[in-house]
Amino acid sequence: MDAVDRRAAAVLGWIAALVALFDGVAEVAGLKWLQEVEWPSDLYTFQHLDPEPIDVAVVGSSRSHYGLPPSGLDVCLSEALGRRTRSVGLNRLTAAAYAQDLVARTLLADNAPAVLVVEVAPETLNAQHFELDYNIASTAEPSDVPECLLHGRSPATCARPLLRGVENVAQLFDRPLADNAHITWMMLYEGGGQYCYSDDACRTRNATYDEKKRGRWQERMDRLIPSVREGRFVDYDVRGGIAAAHFRALLDRETARGVKVVVVNLPVAEAYQAQIPDEVYAEFLAAMRDELGPRGVPFVDLNTPDRQRDRASFVDPDHLNATGAERLTRALCTDTLAPLLAG
């Protein structure tokens, strides 16, 4: 090795040391929970709050961010139980079961909720989940790298937990959430979620938001629906991949520590449901029965035909609006969560 080689090695060594330093700092400071998007939940704020008892925690994707707002659950649960309750929505952009497990594993580690609601959909456990690489890259911890490689994911994806510190630190200084103070407000005072129902100001805000989104239904019909079948349900496997493994880990860990787990299938509009092949949907329901039955975990199927047909309850083909979310949270609260919390 001559002097030039030594100098090049030194430069590479310094770069590696810097990357490791930023990664360590980002991990210690929890900066991966800063998202480059104003929704779903403000997990960065949640991780900084002093631990308070949690009645219901929801882990899921944007579908539960819209469809199961904690505020709706708390309005109903407080009425039913005669006390103030605290629900939180810990949702991650395009979360597969992989991200759901890591969110619960990390952010609820020292504060077990009484009830954990796990949102599922036919996509959630799919080994070919359309955003699984993003789930891993943005949420995994360095200790998850070997498992990722063993599941045959690409080294570039698996290595991201070792390399994303620089971008996480950059996000801290860019503060994408600073322009979206409302999601911090929602996490601080309403437990997260897109909508709130605790006063008239909340209802006005909900209506304003849905009015802004008036064109979204048609836009998604034009741009998303034609690609759903090919993009999300080809080579469907809900039993063997890394997402299914984390679904099982989530169920086993939470039930072992006494958390009452409820798995909920949220409704989609019939335009979206029509894009899910029948055999895929049947396999999804069979997998739910096989995974949940032996564990004694209830499966609440809210994706009923009457809800699928209720176009007025949706902001787009797979997300509920404020009216739909209020109806859904009340149904889940009355039929399932209130009895569980009372029992």
Partner: protein, 78 residues
């Protein structure tokens, strides 16, 4: 025939600018790392104070207006 000037050994390039660059980089990294650790702590204090003001004294600021949500690319991935 080589001149006397050509025979003289070439002087090394001045090292001060390289050293300044190195220490400047180190200082920058230290500042960024310190800020990356300090800002979350400051956020935690402010958020905890805001939540306590509500739970203990019922003081809650009005909700900021909801925005339309992320970049177009991210909205499409929702």
């Amino acid at each position: 025939m080589r001149t006397a000037a050509a025979r003289r050994p070439k002087p090394s390039p001045p090292r001060e600018p390289a050293r300044a660059l190195l220490w400047g980089s180190v200082a920058l990294v230290v500042i960024v790392v310190a800020a990356a650790l300090a800002l979350p702590a400051r956020d935690a204090a402010a958020l905890g104070e805001a939540r306590r003001a509500w739970t203990e004294q019922g003081q809650r600021p009005p909700a900021p207006p909801a925005t339309s949500g992320g970049t177009r690319e991210l909205q499409e991935r929702m």
